[in-house]
Structure formats: C-alpha cells, structure tokens
C-alpha cells in the first residue's frame, strides 16, 4: 500500500509538472515582440499576406483558445507543423529519434560500465596518491566543455589513429554497427563529463556508508573488509545513486543537443538548433515540449525503479 501511495504521489506530481511545462512552453512563445507571421514573411511583406498567414496560423484567436487548441493537439500526438519543412513536428521527431536515442543509450552505457569499478577503487584507496591523481583527472573531465573534448577526440581517434570515422553519420537503416561506430566519439564526449560526476557521487556515498553501524556489525561477524564492501556497502550506496541517474540522463540529453551539431548527426538536437536558427517557432515549441516530456518521463521511471529497489518504500512496517 505504501508503495502504491508513493507511486500515485509521484505520478500526480509528474502530471502537474507537465501542466506547468505546457504553460511555460506555450506562453514563452507568446511574449514575442511583434507578429510571428510578419517576422516569417519579412519586413517588406504584403500586409494582406501577413494577415492571411496569421489567420492560417490561428493567431487571430484569443490566447486561451490557442492554448487549449495546442494542448488538445498534444493529447493526440500533434506537436504542430514545422514552418520551414512544412511537415508535422511529430514526423520529424520520429525520423530523428533513433539517432538521439542511440547516442543517449551509448553514453549511459559507458557511464554505467565505468562508474562502479572506479568508484569502488577510489573509495577503498581513499588516501593513496593514485586516487588523488585520478580525482584530479575527473575534476578536469567535469570542467572540459564537451564540444572541445569532441574536437580533441576527433584529432586523436579519427585523424591520428584512424580508428573511428569522423565523416558523415551512417544511419541505422544502412548498417547497425556502422551507426554505432559513428556514435562512439559523440557518446564519449558526452559521457566523460557525466561519468566523472557520478563517480564522485558514488565514491562519496560509499565513504559515507562505510561509516555506518551496520558495517561494524558485519565486521564483527567475521567478514573481511572486502566482503563487507561488496556484500553490504555497495548496494546501500547504489541506491541513492539511482536518484541522480535521472539527473544524469537529463544532462546527457542536454549534452546531445550540442554534440549532435559538432558531429553533424541527424538527431533531435540538430533539429532543435536548426529550428532556433530559422526561427521556426512551431518546431521549437513542439521539440521543447517533447524534450521536457521525456525528462519528466525519465524522472518518473527513476522513481519507479527506486521504489522497486528500496524495501523501505516497497514494504510497509
């Protein structure tokens, strides 16, 4: 029962947040200086044409109506129509999604694989010189701008070593592994920063947990330090780490926006930037809402995961 209440609470919270997001997204685009139709058609446009476009865009309706129309559209999967491409936003997203999804998944994979071994090593050898050096490296990793890192990675891996392609992206439809190879450098650029953040967090959590009383109890049973670490401490430390996973996924999404532009990957990030550059309001509006929706969904999933793992939430007293 407690679990059910917890989830219900999180769900309603997510719903309210989504509502707030829809308001913010919609009205952000309404504080325009000027008429979007006029901006689109240019300064010298024929006023009649501007009016016609305005009507076509539905801009003559009262604002509440426009908002409700838009929200109504959301429920049926209609995120608007791109001005530039004259194609429903949803369709553009569908085409761009595999790339961004692949990039995100690969980045998260790299993070997940690296985090546990490195954090455990750092926690166990907290005072040794190698650990301090590693920590310093990670600090730099967090500070380095991802797009600069990409440039460096391209220099090293594509140009100097010729291990990985730096050319155009190979779509999944053409070759699965070709696509993955094209995504490795971009994923690395993003994940180096986020991995460093998670490693730091997990290491600190591990150190905190090692001071807990149950560790003392375990050792008094005769368990070695290593056994205590792997059988008791690690799980207790991974639990709060799951909560920042949601935050990390969001960071990765945000990072992909820039990185896709660096590597010219046909994903959602590049779509968004071109939309901003073209002042394609409907496209940007739809994309922004879509991304925010994704974030809320990810956070909700993380909450679900947390409830499933932590017996204190799952089971009542």
């Amino acid at each position: 029962m407690r679990a059910a209440f917890y989830l219900l609470k999180k769900l309603s919270s997510a719903a309210v947040t989504l509502f707030a997001i829809s308001l913010l997204t919609f009205f952000a685009f309404q504080i325009l200086p000027g008429d979007p139709a006029a901006i689109i058609l240019g300064v010298d446009a024929d006023p009649l044409q501007v009016q016609a476009l305005s009507k076509q865009m539905g801009l003559d309706l009262p604002i509440q109506q426009r908002y409700f129309n838009w929200v109504g559209g959301l429920f049926s999967g209609n995120l608007g129509v791109s001005l530039r491409y004259q194609v429903p936003v949803m369709e553009l997203i569908r085409d761009a999604l595999p790339v961004t999804a692949g990039l995100t998944v690969l980045s998260l994979l790299i993070t997940v694989v690296l985090v546990v071994p490195v954090s455990v090593y750092l926690a166990k050898n907290n005072n040794k010189k190698l650990a301090t050096a590693l920590s310093a490296v990670m600090q730099v990793g967090i500070a380095v701008p991802s797009f600069w890192l990409s440039i460096l990675l391209i220099l090293v891996f594509s140009v100097a070593l010729r291990w990985l392609p730096s050319g155009d992206f190979i779509p999944f439809s053409q070759s699965f592994w070709g696509a993955v190879r094209s995504l490795v450098l971009p994923a690395l650029s993003i994940s180096i920063g986020t991995t460093a953040v998670v490693i730091r967090y997990l290491k600190n959590t591990l150190l905190d947990q090692m001071n807990m009383d149950y560790v003392r109890t375990a050792r008094s049973k005769g368990l070695t330090r290593n056994a205590v670490l792997y059988r008791h401490v690690l799980k207790n430390a991974l639990l709060p780490t799951v909560t920042i996973l949601g935050m990390i996924a969001v960071e990765v999404l945000g990072g992909s926006i820039i990185i896709e532009n660096v590597f010219n990957l046909p994903g959602i990030g590049r779509l968004l930037i071109s939309g901003v550059g073209n002042r394609d309001f409907p496209l940007v509006q739809g994309l922004v809402f879509y991304l925010a929706l994704t974030v809320v969904a990810i956070n909700f999933l993380v909450d679900l995961l947390y409830a499933a793992i932590d017996p204190r939430i799952r089971i009542d007293r």
Binding site: M212, D213, Y214, R216, T217, A218, R219, S220, K221, G222, L223, T224, R231, H232, K235, N236, L239, D310, P311, R312, I315, D316, R317
Partner: protein
Amino acid sequence: MEHLLDVEGLTVEIRIRGHAYRALDSVGFRLDRGEIVGLVGESGCGKSLTALSVIGLLPEAARVGAGEIRFRGADLVEWTEARMCGLRGKDISIVFQEPMTALNPLMPVGRQIAEAFLQHGGSKSEARAAALRVMKQVGLSRPDSLYWEFPHQLSGGMKQRVVIAMALINRPALLIADEPTTALDVTIQYQILELIKQLNRSLSTAVLLISHDLGVVREVCSRVIVMYAGFIVEEGGVGEVLRRPLHPYTRQLLESIPTPQKRGRPLYTIPGVVAALDQRPAGVCPFCDRCARARPRCREAVPRLTEQNGRKVRCFFAGGGAE
C-alpha cells in the same frame, strides 16, 4: 589453569593531530568460561575501547601500545587481520548499543543472521535452519515469517534480539555486550538482560557486559570491574563491591544513584567531568581532581592496582569506613 580471556597490561593509544594519547593504561583482567562480568564506568573511561581491542576492531586512529590479550592462551594482539576474521563471530562475538542502525536496511534479517553461520564454514543447506533455531532461542516469535522481513519492519527490542542471535549462532565462548540495553525502553531492557542471563546458562557463553548503569550490572553479573579515565580502579564480586566499595570513585558513583532512602535530600553528583583525552595529566592518580578524599600523595604518582582478599583496587587510601 588457563583462563578463557586474560588481558594483561593493555595500553591503547589514540593519535589526535599527530600526538599519541593514552586512552587505556595497563588494563588487566580475566574472564573464565561461563562467567558474566560487568565493566562499568562513565563515558570516556575506555570501556568500549577495551571491548574493541579484544575483538580487534579498534578505529583507525587507535592502536595497541603495549600488553597482551590472551584468548585461550593465544595472544590476539599478534594476530593478523585474516586470523581475527576467523575468530570474530565464531569464538568471540560482540553486540553494540544501537540496534536501530546495526542492521543492513536492504537485507532480510534472517539472511543477515544466516550470514554469520555461513561465514564460518556452515553449509548453505543448514544455514536457514540454524538461523531459525537461534531466532527461537532469543525469543523472537514467528521466526519463519520474520526471517524474510527487513529491519525497518522490526521494533528496537526485536532488532536487538536479532543482533544477539547473530552473535550467538556459532556458540561463541565469549560474548561482549557493549551497552546492549541503553538504547531500549526499560521493560525491554529487563527482557534483554534476562535473555542474556538465560543464554549464558544454556550455552555456557561467558559474557563481558559493559554498562554505565550499576543497576544493570547488579542484575546480571557475578563480578564487576570499575574503570575510570582509561584505568581499572576497582574489581571484585558484584555484591561485595556494591555493598562495600573500596575506591572513592565507586563510592561516589553509588552515592549518586537515587534511591528511596535518599528521598528529600539533594542528590549527590560527582563534581567535574571526565577529562578529555588530551587533558589528562600524567603521573597523578586519574581521579584525584574529582575525589572527595584526595590528598597531596595522590598528585605525586599513579597508584598501583593492589589485591586484597580477592578484590582489587587502585588507590593509596583504599578501604576505610563508609562516608
């Protein structure tokens, strides 16, 4: 005759900011099979440190400066960590004060008890049965369903029983109980103490019971050791010591316990507090600053622990009439 536990001249130092301070000074006592001995003193007197030294779980900053801890004749101070791991939970067990935080919140309690069994060579097939058996022994009801429950589902008293079960599943020769009831309600306190007494009888487990509460010690122990500021200041049979204390500290401690006879009078408290580790003067009696009967002699040297009719006391002016 070999004693079960024979501590001699144990000195433990703690490093604070580069300096080493003596937290335990020439502590020595013996325990025999099946005995229940109490170790009393205020916070800061070193009783927990003594317990941790015996089982080899001293904190990072502390180390044994001198002395021997002989368990069944072997000096544990010399042992490697690996050998100590084989000893902990099997020959010597310890339970601590805080049951609320003593268990891993993510593992079912039964599994945590079974872990102690498995750690010392028990087979997987027998582990659950052994756990259930010891859970019954410590008075936990419905062990079968309790086995799979998580710590947050249990009360403080139940958790402490779980901890005791964990400690006793391998039938250790010695159980060290560091303030096992301090964090519990009075009624539960009584139950846990009864449990300890009963287990001592049925399993012949020797118990070193650490407490700041003389009442608890009187209930359960046959012998009592009084500590102050890292030194042992008195030792003897529980009845004797409580009836006719030889050391001023013990006497003043008894004075400060409220009893019906003292009703109506202001309650005596020992003036001052136990000095912090880095503020203990060397070469003087550790208690002289707070002692009601201190004399110039007390500031000249540390008194030796002398033996009189089976009782030990560390005072230049031991004995003498009641105050």
